[in-house]
Amino acid sequence: MDVRITVLSRPQARSVTAFVMIGRCLTALVGGYAAAAGVASLTARLLPIARAEATGWGMIISFLIFAILGLWAFHQPRLTRVATVIWGLAALSIGACYLLGVRA
């Protein structure tokens, strides 16, 4: 992607950069939230303790996961890697929660 930017004309390069930035912001904010919600929920679903307790721990850690994923989205230079990891994590964890279903 970096290579491509160099061969584009200046306005074109600017619009690509803006596009990359918007994608990064959306991935951090929306994807980060989805991934945090998914990981927290999966933790709550899988922890082998009383479900109220597991739910409590899931909710408590969720914001830390969100913040760290969001920051990492702006640290990792490759947007493709950022998007793959964050959206992938969100899809996998949320999907796993759906497959497992509500705790009996």
């Binding site: 970096d2 930017i5 950069t17 930035m21 945090a36 919600a37 998914g38 927290a40 929920s41 999966l42 933790t43 709550a44 679903r45 303790i49 009383a50 479900r51 109220a52 307790e53 597991a54 739910t55 409590g56 721990w57 899931g58 909710m59 408590i60 969720s62 914001f63 830390l64 969100f66 913040a67 760290i68 969001g70 920051l71 702006f74 640290h75 230079p77 490759r78 929660c97 497992l100 509500v102 705790r103």
Partner: protein
């Protein structure tokens, strides 16, 4: 943005990327966070502000048991057939009993629902309703702190977004700040941008544990709204979670058989014994005067760190103990303690004032951060870009004008006629008209003048409070001094201290401009903002 434009994998270190995101997250959320910090800090004195805003109320203090008995007698006399009674007993910080009654739902579904009766204040000694000026009191700052005066649920979502930005900004700030312990003691005054960075670092680092705690626990206060998904993963019905976590609510049906309500005094004594001296604060009576009536006593939040207070339920007919809340597990207890740490209800006077001062350092950290953004981008002799003007103006509108709005809310309480209808809403409007009015006015002034002028107006508004209070109530400073009325004395002193700090900042901002203006190429002096630091530190 340019740093982000063409990032190469190797060129960007962790500290660099964190500095970048710290800057932009802080800028985006900064103004709202400043307002959240300031109003949240004031909310540590929520009951005290309410007391100050109803100066005509001076009920005598009586025992909690007597207050409970008089309020039950009042509710028996006025609405014995209600579905539910809520009684909030007075304590060290609230002088009146507050009661709220919920009538039985109308069996006719088509009838217009009965309007929610307002909460009443009762004299704890006699149970007679107290009449005082209509006001939202300290509740207004408290609600604004997390609802931002926006329609539900948008205010809470926006506050939550700013809080998660704050959390990410704190983490990235700590990573950026490599010399955290050296800069702990470093504050270089009068060095322009370097001083702003120092001021930002000192206010942030000194109170770092507090900032980290208050941000995370703030998110936890509304976690069920922000992050309900772990509940969804484990429960078919979310209500089951709260029942399991906090104990089941006794939502029994009325039997339809009448039975007189047992005396409340022995139940309160029994609850206190069960809690080893803990005091009941809230009484919830369901189906009063029914054979299936229940009386639930909730312990005072001032008694323990966990804000989820234990409760015990008695039969309203026999007075026998029916059930009590179970001890929460580690996770639920952790969440409860986080909630308690945030709202600080457990804190005694010394800790409460510490909370207040630390809250002010939070506002100072956000404020200096915002000023640092402009100080860093100001290049003498060049025309600043458009966004720079916006940030500069929003900084003035928030940091210099919001305090005046808060003072106007308190002034309006004393100046709006006591018995006029709708006055509580007018007090709230006074805050926002003053705040946004002054912000608009400040845009019409040159930046270098706007800072000292707006700060001077805010200093004047705070200085006016003790005077207006003395002129409009019987509880002026000297009368309070004679009466030993600690709350009113302290309130006046805090207002004077605020006025002094804001006035000092205004004076410094104006003085620096007068002194340095001839040596500068541009009319806008870069050092003006740097001299407002004292105010930002304080406000």
């Amino acid at each position: 943005m340019s740093k982000m434009a063409t990032p190469t994998p190797e060129a960007k270190g962790l500290r660099q990327s964190m500095a970048w995101i710290h800057t932009w997250l802080g800028l985006l959320a900064g103004w709202i966070l400043f307002a959240m910090f300031l109003t949240g800090t004031a909310s540590y004195f929520r009951p005290e502000i309410t007391q100050w805003m109803q100066p005509e109320l001076r009920p005598a203090t009586v025992s909690a048991t007597q207050a409970a008995q008089t309020s039950v007698a009042y509710l028996q006399a006025t609405s014995p057939d209600d579905e539910q009674w809520f009684i909030y007993l007075p304590d060290d910080r609230t002088a009146e009993t507050r009661v709220f009654a919920r009538p039985k739902p109308n069996p006719d579904a088509k009838a217009t629902p009965t309007k929610r009766a307002a909460e009443l204040k009762l004299d704890p000694a006699t149970g007679v309703p107290l009449t005082a000026r209509d006001t939202r009191g300290g509740e207004h700052f408290y609600r604004f702190h997390f609802q931002l005066q926006l329609p539900h649920p948008w205010g809470r979502w926006l506050a939550g977004l700013c809080a998660i930005f704050m959390l990410a900004t704190s983490i990235s700030g700590v990573i950026t700040h490599k010399r955290i312990f050296v800069d702990f003691f470093t504050l270089r005054w009068g060095k322009g941008q370097r001083s702003w960075l120092d001021a930002h670092n000192v206010s942030a680092v000194l109170a770092l544990p507090f900032h980290a705690m208050i941000t995370y626990t703030g998110l936890i206060t509304l976690v069920v709204m922000y992050m309900p998904w772990p509940i969804m993963a484990n429960y078919q019905k979310p209500a089951t979670f709260s029942a399991e976590a906090y104990g089941r609510d006794n939502e029994g049906e009325a039997s339809g058989k009448a039975a007189p309500l047992a005396a409340i005094g022995p139940m309160m004594a029994a609850a206190t014994r069960e809690w080893q001296g803990g005091r009941p604060r809230t009484i919830i009576i369901r189906h009063p005067n029914d054979a299936a009536a229940t009386v639930t006593l909730v312990q005072s939040g001032a008694d323990q760190l966990n804000a989820r207070s234990p409760s015990v339920t008695f039969s309203g007919a026999s007075g026998a103990r029916l059930s009590g809340s179970h001890r929460p597990g580690p996770a639920i207890a952790t969440a409860g303690v986080m909630l308690g740490l945030h709202i600080g209800q457990y804190a005694g006077p010394v800790l409460r004032w510490t909370y207040f001062l630390l809250g002010l350092t939070g506002a100072a950290m956000v404020g200096t951060g915002l000023l640092l953004w402009t100080a860093k981008r100001r290049k003498p002799g060049t025309k600043p870009f458009f966004g720079f003007h916006i940030v500069e103006r929003l900084n003035i509108a928030t940091i210099a004008c919001l305090p005046t709005g808060m003072a106007a809310y308190l002034l309006a309480n004393r100046l709006i006629p006591v018995d006029i209808s709708g006055r509580a809403g007018m007090e709230v409007s006074a805050m926002f008209w003053t705040w946004f009015g002054l912000a608009t006015l400040s845009v019409m002034r040159p930046v270098a003048r706007a800072w000292p002028e707006m700060l001077m107006v805010s200093a004047g508004a705070f200085a006016a409070l003790p005077i207006v209070n003395m002129a409009t109530t019987q509880r002026g400073f000297f009368a309070s001094l004679m009466a030993g009325d600690g709350l009113f004395i302290a309130f006046d002193l805090v207002m004077v201290a605020m006025a002094a700090l804001l006035g000092f900042g205004a004076w410094k901002a104006g003085q620096v401009k007068a002194k340095k203006a001839p040596t500068r190429r541009r009319a806008v002096s870069p050092s003006v903002q740097q001299q407002v630091r004292e105010v930002v530190d304080a406000a």
